[in-house]
């Protein structure tokens, strides 16, 4: 694979961000019921009282993760609410009740060694990750034996044994340091979580991937190797931290595209943040409901890790961070390379994103409608070795079939082509447009 040249900024690691702060409980939270795999059906009704960690929506389909209440209070409404992807999705709106005493977890704290119980715990914890995955966490991490007992006829990739378990501690994109920060802050949870996953996946090889330049204490490294977990250092470059590329880096095998399914080549990749949540959930016996995000506002020099409760609305976040610029021109959820710009402050913060960035008018990146002049920069940088210049032109002029023949669906939308384009063409937009059109055409036929 060609090495890429977008380095993460040198101020990469934990030191650059001020310590994590906790936000006070908001008045209400909004919990979307939709996951990338489908919609869960609500278990509560309007007016019901809910407790922290209570399962408020689930589905018979094992693929769809459960939704857990992140606060105690009463269900105010169940209705469609805008999500960070721009669509309105069914959500449960909970009004936060008077802060009660720490409700003791009703479920049993299990320190079980039994993979079956670990599987149950992980799949009921309602953990949803930042990276797009073809399977939810529990199924992706589970050995074929467990899946066969849970799902009557499991899909093919899930029947393959897991050979490599990869814990991804590479920062996902330049400017977001959540994973490297987690790595230094939650060493204990990571060490506690790895054995659970080793048992769950029954993988003979487990690997913790860190970025070059990240310092780990010798103590941590010793304990890791005692767990039989290898430590691999990866160049601190974007987009190597994305799942298909990190898998290729570790296993030296290409992840089949466009399925983007690491299970097909016997690898299971896990975000270190999810690992920490798994560890917390299993150790406490109650699903963890916390969520850490990074808030950035380059214009005022703000970079802060914030501990929030799931479902917090963007406007409540802004209210609690007075340092933020008064009139942001653009609010991006999910980081500047992979995130989505928002049109409203009413978006709930879910587990599916890791960062919120506030840009002022001067910082907004504007693309142009200039034609491509074949400089080849995008070809030089594309991690999937596509020809983005050609694909962009195909999509621009409506030649979607040609684009598909040239592997449009292998594009992982990392955004490097648009980042380097001297003509500032909106490459990701063009390619996504092409994909949408093709999917619509397929559906229609």
């Amino acid at each position: 694979m060609k090495l890429l040249s977008i380095k993460h900024p040198s101020t990469s690691f934990q030191t650059s961000a001020s310590p994590q702060i906790n936000l006070p409980l908001p008045v209400r939270v909004v919990l979307p019921l939709v996951s990338p795999w489908g919609e869960a059906s609500p278990l509560v009704r309007k007016g019901d009282a809910v407790e922290v960690g209570q399962c408020i929506a689930k589905s018979d389909n094992l693929l769809i993760p459960q939704v857990r209440a992140s606060v105690s209070g009463t269900v105010k409404e169940i209705k469609a609410w805008p999500s960070h992807l721009g669509k309105e999705v069914l959500s449960i709106i909970i009004e936060v009740g008077a802060s009660e005493e720490e409700s003791t977890p009703s479920s049993q704290a299990t320190d079980s060694e039994d993979p079956e119980i670990i599987f149950q715990q992980v799949s009921s914890a309602g953990i949803c990750e930042v990276d797009p995955h073809p399977w939810p966490l529990a199924l992706r991490m589970a050995a074929p034996g467990l899946i066969e007992s849970a799902l009557p006829s499991p899909p093919d990739p899930l029947t393959k044994p897991i050979e490599t378990l990869i814990v991804n501690c590479m920062d996902r994109q330049p400017g977001v340091y959540l994973r490297s920060a987690t790595l230094t802050r939650h060493e204990e949870e990571i060490l506690a979580g790895i054995p659970f996953l080793q048992k769950l996946s029954s993988a003979p090889r487990s690997v913790l991937v860190i970025a070059q330049g990240q310092n780990l204490s010798g103590d941590f490294q010793g304990k890791l190797s005692a767990l039989g977990c290898e430590l691999i250092t990866c160049p601190n470059k974007y987009p190597l931290g994305l799942e298909p590329l990190i898998t290729q880096f570790v296993t030296k095998r290409e992840v089949p595209q466009p399925a983007n399914d690491t299970r097909m080549i016997g690898a299971a990749v896990l975000d270190v943040n999810a690992l920490v949540q798994v560890a917390k959930s299993i150790q406490a016996g109650i699903p963890s409901t916390e969520l850490a995000i990074q808030v950035d506002a380059p214009s005022v020099g703000l970079r802060q890790f914030v501990q929030v409760c799931r479902g917090l609305l963007l406007e409540d976040l802004i209210k609690n961070l007075p340092q933020l610029p008064a009139n942001p021109a653009k609010v991006i959820i999910g980081g500047i390379f992979l995130g989505h710009a928002q049109f409203s402050f009413q978006i709930p913060i879910t587990q599916q994103f890791d960062a919120v960035t506030f840009q002022t008018a001067g910082e907004v990146n504007r693309s142009s409608d200039e034609p491509c002049f074949n400089c080849g920069y995008c070809v030089r940088h594309c991690p999937m070795q596509l020809l983005p210049n050609e694909l962009g032109k195909y999509c621009e002029y409506g030649k979607f079939d040609d684009a598909e023949r040239n592997f449009l669906f292998h594009c992982i939308e990392c955004g490097v082509c648009a980042y380097v384009c001297p003509a500032k063409r909106p490459m990701v937009q063009l390619l996504r447009f092409g994909k949408q059109e093709l999917l619509a055409m397929r559906e229609a036929s």
């Binding site: 298909p244 992840v255 466009p258 991006i332 500047i336 995130g339 710009a341 693309s367 074949n374 380097v420």
Partner: protein, 325 residues
């Protein structure tokens, strides 16, 4: 409820900050050593020709874009690059109107008729050059003697550019020319084509700044040298030393500035490799057995036509795995 005024756009929400204009400005910086070498060896007349070409190219592009109602984009400096390069590949003794004619053809026929920057199939500089070369062969073929400003002794060994001498008088006529003169460019020839040193400085700058990849220039020069070597080994009485062949003008300028022009050269690595090798081999074929003395421009123009074919040789797309399921 009123929605806040927010920009909404697709990811990525950042840019490397690198623009077409910057890229062209870097190319102009890389051309400075060549312009300097032109002035150093051929005097103010050389600078005058370069300036005429540059101004004409920029003005032509501006007028054309205005006339057809397109946004005027002379600020991206691509016309200036074309103009400077055209000035560098002609003799400093051509009349001013010929330089103007060349620049107008280069911009209009070579570039704008196809839709502007990056849309043209042939190297725009060489289109303009070919036009005036074919039309006014005699005038394009007269080159002044180098008159270095200071320090270097005038070459004095050659009356005509070494390429012409080699073609017309055979290899013994140029065997007395020291390689040092060939390398510095202290020989008769077109303004910017004689100095290997200057082209090398500019070219290495371009590669270092990542404006061009090294594949095309390096393989161009290497394949020309190897091809020359084969025939030199076969018969050193008839074929010139390959090192002399690559030093006597055009190849270094062509390899670093003309062949890798954006839009007319392949963008995939295998394509670039084939293209570079093709340019080098064709150059030597034209030189050894062709009728035209100038081989590099025609080799590059011919390879430009093959660019779409070379772009079909592409790297294997990541993730195209036989799905074992």
């Amino acid at each position: 409820m009123k929605r806040p005024d927010l920009y909404v756009s697709m990811s990525p929400h950042a840019h490397a900050g690198y623009s077409t204009q910057q890229m062209m400005l870097e190319t102009i910086i890389a051309l400075i050593p060549l312009v300097f070498a032109g002035w150093f060896f051929f005097g103010w007349a050389a600078l005058k020709i370069v300036a005429i070409c540059t101004v004409t190219a920029v003005v032509t592009e501006g007028i054309w874009q205005k006339a057809i109602g397109r946004p005027v984009k002379i600020a991206d400096c691509s016309a200036a690059v074309t103009g400077i390069l055209l000035g560098l590949v002609v003799s400093s003794e051509i009349p001013w109107w010929m330089a103007v004619l060349g620049a107008v053809v280069a911009i209009l026929v070579g570039k704008q008729f196809y839709g502007g920057l990056g849309q043209h199939p042939f190297n725009s500089v060489l289109v303009g050059w070919t036009f005036i070369f074919v039309s006014y062969q005699a005038m394009m073929g007269t080159y002044p003697m180098p008159e270095p400003r200071w320090w270097l002794d005038p070459g004095g060994y050659l009356e005509y550019p070494p390429l012409d001498t080699l073609k017309l008088d055979g290899i013994f006529a140029i065997s007395g020319v020291p390689w040092r003169d060939l390398f510095y460019g202290n020989i008769p020839g077109a303004i910017g084509t004689t100095s290997v040193l200057a082209a090398l400085i500019g070219g290495i700058y371009l590669i270092f700044r990542r404006i061009i990849d090294w594949y095309i220039p390096v393989l161009f020069i290497a394949s020309a040298w190897l091809f020359g070597l084969i025939f030199w080994l076969i018969d050193p009485e008839v074929y010139a030393n390959p090192t002399v062949q690559i030093l006597i003008g055009w190849i270094f300028l062509g390899a670093f500035f003309l062949a890798p022009e954006k839009g007319t050269s392949p963008v995939t690595v295998p394509g670039m490799i084939c293209y570079g090798i093709g340019c080098g081999v064709l150059t030597m074929i034209f030189r050894l057995w062709g009728t035209f003395i100038q081989a590099v421009p025609f080799a590059i123009l011919l390879m430009n036509t093959l660019t779409p074919l070379f772009e079909r040789i592409r790297p294997k797309v990541v993730g195209r795995v036989k799905e074992v399921a």
